[in-house]
């Protein structure tokens, strides 16, 4: 496999491919599971005469795909600790606090959603509130975690340097740049959800509700992106350098901008399907911009993909398992989406 592809003058190794696969899983989690989070945000912010219909639509849209969307995160984690164990160990150690909070959010959200569906009418609103609040906090902290990684604050250091608790376990993520990435993730998920929901809605008024929400969050996303970029100037030098000076930077920015403008334009002129494709492209391109900017590092500034990689035997086997898994999973996933996310019944 080596030597087939080059990025930035480097040969792409098997470890690079697997890091890419992990990022694909994260990408899928962001555009699929992320939209479920976004749905929770719109549930919290539901208002107007169709408030209850909005909430019902969100629940209907999330229901069948909920569990499957969640598994992308588990897949990413499992592949990370199998293929890049030192990176997993360092993340678990230095980001113990935000990751624990993410977990609490995931637990509350997942169970609240189920309890909300199956609970009695009189208690459903409480679960709706738990679900919505957890939907707000979890993406914020997930984004913050990503921001902490990108900022390069998760260096070797740690306990070995004799730093205090705050310096080691809190400072890397409780910082303007990671927090701005958290805000960005939250708005991006809400934006995706609003765009998807325009397609899910059957009634025109409901569709208009989510169109307006999509447009508003699309503009909000732009503001958050600019803010994160400005903060990266001092907060995440590697991302900054990557996003501004690398050879691929300009084309990537142009593509992302094109996708963003297309998404907003399509929402404006009510081309729902175009809007969905463009919104997914926009969020995915931003994620890949981050990935490319820190390549070849898995945890900047010092842990590279190559140095964190598991032995070749493991990587080869995991690749085989991935191929095998894809043969089972992709048709199944296609079937799930075809049954529930197309207007035509399969019967």
């Amino acid at each position: 496999m080596a030597g087939v592809l080059h990025v930035g003058g480097r040969i792409v190794t098997l470890a690079d491919w697997l890091a890419g696969v992990i990022f694909v899983a994260l990408n899928a989690y962001a555009v699929l599971g992320g939209a479920d989070f976004g749905g929770g945000v719109w549930d919290l912010l539901a208002f107007g005469p169709r408030r209850e219909r909005q909430r019902e639509l969100i629940a209907e849209a999330i229901g069948p795909v909920w569990e499957a969307n969640h598994v992308w995160l588990i897949l990413a984690i499992v592949l990370l600790f199998t293929c890049f164990p030192p990176a997993f160990a360092r993340l678990g150690t230095l980001l113990h606090i935000p990751l624990s909070l993410v977990l609490i959010g995931i637990v509350l959200r997942g169970s609240a959603f189920t309890f909300w569906r199956y609970g009695a009418d009189e208690e459903q609103r409480y679960w709706g509130v738990v679900f919505a609040i957890a939907s707000l906090i979890t993406p914020l902290l997930l984004g913050t975690t990503a921001g902490a990684i990108a900022s390069g604050a998760l260096g070797q250091g740690g306990a070995a340097t004799g730093d205090g608790f705050y310096t080691i376990y809190v400072a890397p993520w409780l910082d303007p740049f990671p927090l701005s990435v958290g805000l960005f993730a939250l708005i991006a998920f809400a934006f995706l959800a609003a765009v998807y929901l325009t397609l899910e809605a059957r009634e025109p008024e409901l569709r208009e509700d989510f169109r307006r929400r999509g447009l508003a969050s699309g503009v909000g996303l732009f503001v958050a992106a600019v803010m994160a970029l400005l903060l990266s100037l001092s907060g995440a030098p590697r991302v900054r350098d990557g996003l501004i000076f690398a050879t691929w930077a300009l084309p990537l920015h142009l593509l992302t901008a094109a996708a963003a403008i297309t998404a907003l334009w399509a929402l404006w002129v009510r081309r729902w399907r175009v809007a969905r494709v463009a919104a997914v492209a926009q969020v995915s391109l931003i994620l890949w911009g981050w990935a490319l900017s820190q390549y070849p590092y898995i945890l900047p500034p010092d842990l590279s993909i190559a140095s964190a990689a598991a032995p070749a035997a493991t990587l080869r086997l995991v690749s085989g398992a991935l191929a095998l898994g894809a043969v089972v999973l992709l048709p199944s996933l296609y079937y799930l989406l075809r049954v529930f996310k197309s207007s035509v019944s399969v019967t």
């Binding site: 199998t82 293929c83 993410v102 169970s111 199944s332």
Partner: protein, 445 residues
Amino acid sequence: MPDLLAARSQMAVSLAFHIVFAVIGIAMPLMMVLAERRWQVTGHAIYLDLAKRWAKGTAILFAVGAVSGTVLSFELGLLWPRFMEFAGPIIGMPFSLEGFAFFTEAIFLGVYLYGWDRISPRAHLWAGVAVAVSGVASGIFVVIANAWMNAPTGFELVNGQAVNVDPIAAMANAAAVSQTLHMTLAAYAATGFAVAGIHAFLLLKDPANAFHRRALEIALIVGAPAAVLQPISGDISARHIAAQQPVKLAAAEAVFRTQAGAPLTLGGWPDVAARENRFAVEIPSALSLLAFHDPHAVVQGLDRVPESEWPNVPAVHLSFQVMVALGTYLALVALWAAWLSWRRADLAHNRWLMRAIVLAAPMGFIAVEAGWMVTELGRQPWVIYGVLKTRDAVTPMPGLVVPFVTFTLLYCFLGVIVVWLLYRHIIRSPAVPEWRGFYMSGGGS
């Protein structure tokens, strides 16, 4: 609270909580598929109602199991980063496969739950089968990873580093077959008897209720054969442990002294200081016979290793006794029910059998928890047997008592709500009065 103890406690609480949902996630889909199949064959709406209720139960429990499983996959890094750094490349493979199995399960559960009116009955049943099969597969993969911690293989240790890593050999470790067999049977037995117990309780009040009679029947079809086979699988496990993990067996049986013709001890309380098991009933040579199929075989005692490498002997011994006692009870009740069925007796009207099954309801789960206590506590102080000590695997992060308390409270809260929801959706009798006489009029078979 010391950080190591807090980390171990948090892991224990997370596992103890998750295992309940994992076990139900393995067995409940099978019951749901059996009920749906009977509905398709007989056309009786009562089976459809059962299938839908069990599907709801599966949905609720799967959702909670999915999040508690997510917590565990993160906790491996949050609490035991040094363990994962070492073990990840060797044993990540079954976790990856489990990820795929879990994914398949999630996809087809979505299809099953929401697809009643969208796909053909045949496709719907197969979606259920896919859930049941992938549920078993994910359980097996996770237990294989745990088995490797008990029987580590597939690598060479050079200066504390693992070299020549062979993940396939690691998966084919010596404990894999006995542990996965024991756990899969346990899942069917525990879930089958828990469901059977609930319906037996309601049948005691209302023996003619066709709904509960059908539910009991399917629950016993799933639970009883597994409960009967479990002691055989237990024997395979015990013989494996006797050969590969003698310290664990010595702790489970409270054998302090290496001896030939070792007796089997029933009950008792190990006095570690005095090196004896007080108040125990001993069956001469029976342990040697069971562990090595030879009454004169030498059973290694705790004296073979320094006391610093002993597990908590009273805890392991007690857990082991509880597991064996409860498992035996389940097997006997299963045989009794099978005997009555063979004689074509009406199980639901046999009040003593119904009472025995009610008593059995929590036992399978208690036995599962106790069994995991044996295997996990019995391996201490090692996290990877003979390779890495638990205290060397824990995160350097201080203040671990905070997450421990937080997650414990969270799990207590969730547990209460899940029980309440299950009561509402699955256990309560259907409010359809005509089904009461359904069985008596000979409507079903």
